[in-house]
């Protein structure tokens, strides 16, 4: 335990999975209403919450609905009258919920949702992949992506702070199985710290009430719909500083912070860097250290903590000092590249001294990505910088072309 933590009187350390960390954070955030529907690897979040409610006499309501669409509808209904609302899902569940997710984004309601990342079918697949978590970035939500269980807990609390402030709902993504089912120690701040960070008893002018009635979400003429969307765009765009600031304020209270929108690792003198999100960042960091030692490559890691707001400002500052960036995407935009790589390229295109950007796709459906894979990315980036190999639209990590030939049938 750090000195700051001791000073702040924080002593509650628990060894938990990231799913339990989510559930604990939801309890500590004093969420009023939860919409619950099971899907792996998210299910245990709801099991923990139900257990807390039934054994600890919480005043939280958990609505065990008949679909994810309804789970998000429950969260929306609750948030619309000013309650603190939460739900969680993954994969197929998110797709089934999609209509509601978009609607809540348009509704400007401060809902927080955890997505334990998982690939989507067909075919049926349980393994980890980030495509699901990234989808709501186009749906009017903020999307944050912590690296480990402690950060998962802290990010859920930070998410409520950001959502309450901006009236933009927030997704907190966490790596399915890799984090959701792995235990790590986390430290839980005093309840009073959390209460002061995300107070509930504040005016909520956005909430429906019978004394000052208004209508929420009715039709709008096309001459102002663009302005509705603009205002969501603007608010998310302007939130880059807010995400930084909220993380710093959290540090003041708990001694923990994560770099705000981006965690920068060994970037001071770096020539090449990997952009990565979530739990594999640890491996990428290890690889950066290794290639520095082994080959003297000046390698660093840019861990995106925030995908929406997309940290255009900070990324530009970092990138202008780099020669090449490899974006490792555990997702894909079919036929084009990694989803984050396409955004990185968009964000950096106008930079005067922009680095080369190479898109890497791997780890889909839970396929292993190891430290050596990240080391290889660094060495390739170095070769690209040195002009020994060229940039490809996409470089695949761990792709087994022989398997494609042997299992698939030509028709």
């Amino acid at each position: 335990m750090s000195i700051i933590e001791e000073k702040k009187g924080v002593s509650n350390v628990k060894v938990v999975t990231a799913n339990e960390a989510v559930a604990l954070a939801v309890k500590c955030a004093k969420v009023d209403v939860v919409g619950a529907y099971p899907i792996s690897p998210q299910t245990s979040i709801m099991e923990y919450l139900t257990k807390y409610i039934e054994t600890e006499n919480l005043s939280m309501e958990i609505v065990r609905v008949e679909s994810e669409h309804s789970a998000m509808a429950v969260a929306m209904g609750a948030a619309s009258v000013g309650a603190r609302a939460f739900t969680a899902t993954a994969s197929q569940g998110l797709l089934y919920m999609a209509e509601m997710v978009y609607w809540v984004g348009g509704s400007r309601l401060p809902v927080v949702m955890a997505i334990t990342s998982r690939a989507m079918g067909a075919p049926w697949i349980l393994g980890n992949e980030h495509t699901d978590v990234l989808l709501p970035r186009e749906w009017g939500w903020m999307v944050l992506f912590p690296e480990h269980n402690q950060e998962v807990f802290d990010t859920i609390i930070q998410a409520y702070r950001i959502a309450d402030k901006t009236l933009i709902p927030v997704v907190v993504g966490l790596d399915g199985f890799i984090l959701s089912h792995t235990t790590m120690p986390i430290s839980i701040p005093d309840q009073s710290v959390i209460d002061s960070f995300i107070p509930k008893d504040v005016p909520k002018p956005y909430a429906l009430n019978t004394s000052n009635p208004f209508t929420h979400g009715n039709a709008v003429h096309s001459n102002v719909y663009l302005e509705f969307r603009y205002d969501i765009f603007r608010t998310i765009e302007e939130s880059e500083d807010l995400v930084d600031q909220v993380d710093k304020e959290w540090e003041k209270l708990t001694g923990r912070s994560y770099g705000g929108v981006i965690e920068e690792y060994l970037l001071d003198d770096a020539e090449v860097a990997i952009v990565v999100i979530g739990a594999s960042s640890g491996d990428a960091k290890q690889a950066a250290k290794n290639v520095r030692e082994k080959y003297g490559i000046k390698a660093g890691v840019i861990r995106l903590r925030s995908i929406r707001p997309f940290p255009v400002k900070r990324l530009s500052q970092i990138a202008s000092k780099l020669k090449a960036i490899g974006v490792f995407d555990r997702n894909m935009s079919p036929g084009l590249g990694g989803m984050i790589a396409t955004e990185v390229k968009f964000a950096l295109y106008d930079l005067k001294d922009k680095p080369i950007v190479q898109s890497y796709i791997g780890g889909l459906g839970g396929k292993d990505v190891r430290i050596v894979d990240f080391e290889k990315i660094f060495t390739e980036l170095k070769e690209i910088v040195d002009g020994r190999i060229g940039v490809q639209r996409v470089r695949w990590v761990g792709l087994d072309l022989a398997a494609v030939d042997s299992y698939f049938e030509e028709v």
């Binding site: 009023d32 609505v63 609607w103 979400g217 009715n218």
Partner: protein
């Protein structure tokens, strides 16, 4: 029983709204809100009611109103009810949904909320088709009816949602009609003070969708009851009771001829003798069934 003169003066749904002339749903909504008063939250899925309430930045509703996607209203209302409970606010939550949002796309959601016995009042205004999209069949559309997607007449009978709702074991199910406004008003008053999931289905003519002259909406709703096309009843704690306006029409000889009802509406113009026979058979069967259920515990 409330008389017409006893209906409150207060209006909660304002003039100058987006409904078509003669719209049945607004007759229903106006009087439902009179019964509920101002301590009510309304939840409305995609439907004609999304348009009738008028567009941003205005609204014709003077009670708080949450719009939701098509299938989501019963779940959004569940979240609202639970939130109000936690926050210690004591208001009625009312879903105001069309037949499409209830019988079809929203059925799983409605069934889920009913099975959980959420403490809310679910009202389905039944205009027997998807009117918002321009008049397309729903499972509430009666046999033989012309709609944009049943150009030669619908092949299937209307789905019996009130009995399906009753089978959930909820405390209150009722059918009502905009033509019997005090019967409707009293059913809402009764349901308002009950706890748990309450389902009320209101027959609500649609003038353009039914190819019905605008002045005939109430008249046609009255005929729907008098011909046995739309029996009014309550199922309170499992006990079935035919409502007063329908009492006389359970007997075939008392019922008005179906053609009295059909001839007002263009949506039935194409019906042939044999189509009418089939519909009559359905009316006879359902009336007999309801007569045999009257006064009995049915779930």
């Amino acid at each position: 029983m409330t008389s017409i003169k006893q209906l409150p003066y207060e209006e909660y749904f304002l003039a100058g709204n987006g409904s078509c002339p003669g719209c049945g749903l607004t007759i229903g909504l106006r009087n439902v809100l009179k019964a509920l008063g101002k301590e009510v939250y309304m939840v409305v899925p995609a439907s004609c009611s999304s348009v009738v309430q008028s567009p941003f930045p205005n609204s014709s509703a003077t009670v708080p109103l949450l719009n939701t996607p098509f299938a989501a209203s019963a779940a959004a209302a569940s979240g609202m009810v639970r939130a109000l409970k936690v926050m210690g606010r004591d208001s009625v939550v009312m879903v105001w949904a069309g037949d499409g949002g209830t019988f079809d796309i929203g059925l799983a959601t409605v069934s889920g909320a009913a099975e959980r016995n959420e403490d809310l009042l679910y009202i389905c205004y039944d205009n027997e088709a998807y009117m918002n999209t321009g008049g397309h069949r729903s499972s509430a559309t009666p046999l033989g009816t012309f709609t944009g997607t049943t150009p030669t007449g619908k092949r299937e009978n209307k789905k019996n949602i009130p009995l399906i709702m009753a089978a959930h074991g909820i405390p209150y199910v009722a059918t009502a009609s905009i033509a019997f406004i005090t019967d409707l008003y009293d059913k809402i008053l009764k349901a308002k003070d009950m706890k748990g999931f309450r389902y009320i289905q209101i027959f609500s003519p649609c003038t353009p969708g039914w190819l019905l002259p605008t002045e005939k909406s109430v008249e046609s709703a009255k005929l729907a009851v008098q011909t046995g096309m739309y029996p009014l009843f309550e199922i309170e704690n499992g006990i079935f009771k035919i409502s007063a306006p329908s009492k006389a029409y359970l007997k075939k000889e008392k019922r008005k001829p179906l053609t009295d009802y059909f001839k007002l509406q263009g949506r039935f113009k194409h019906l042939k003798e044999e189509d009418i026979k089939l519909i009559e058979k359905w009316v006879d069967e359902i009336s007999e069934e309801y007569a045999s259920m009257d006064g009995k515990k049915v779930v």
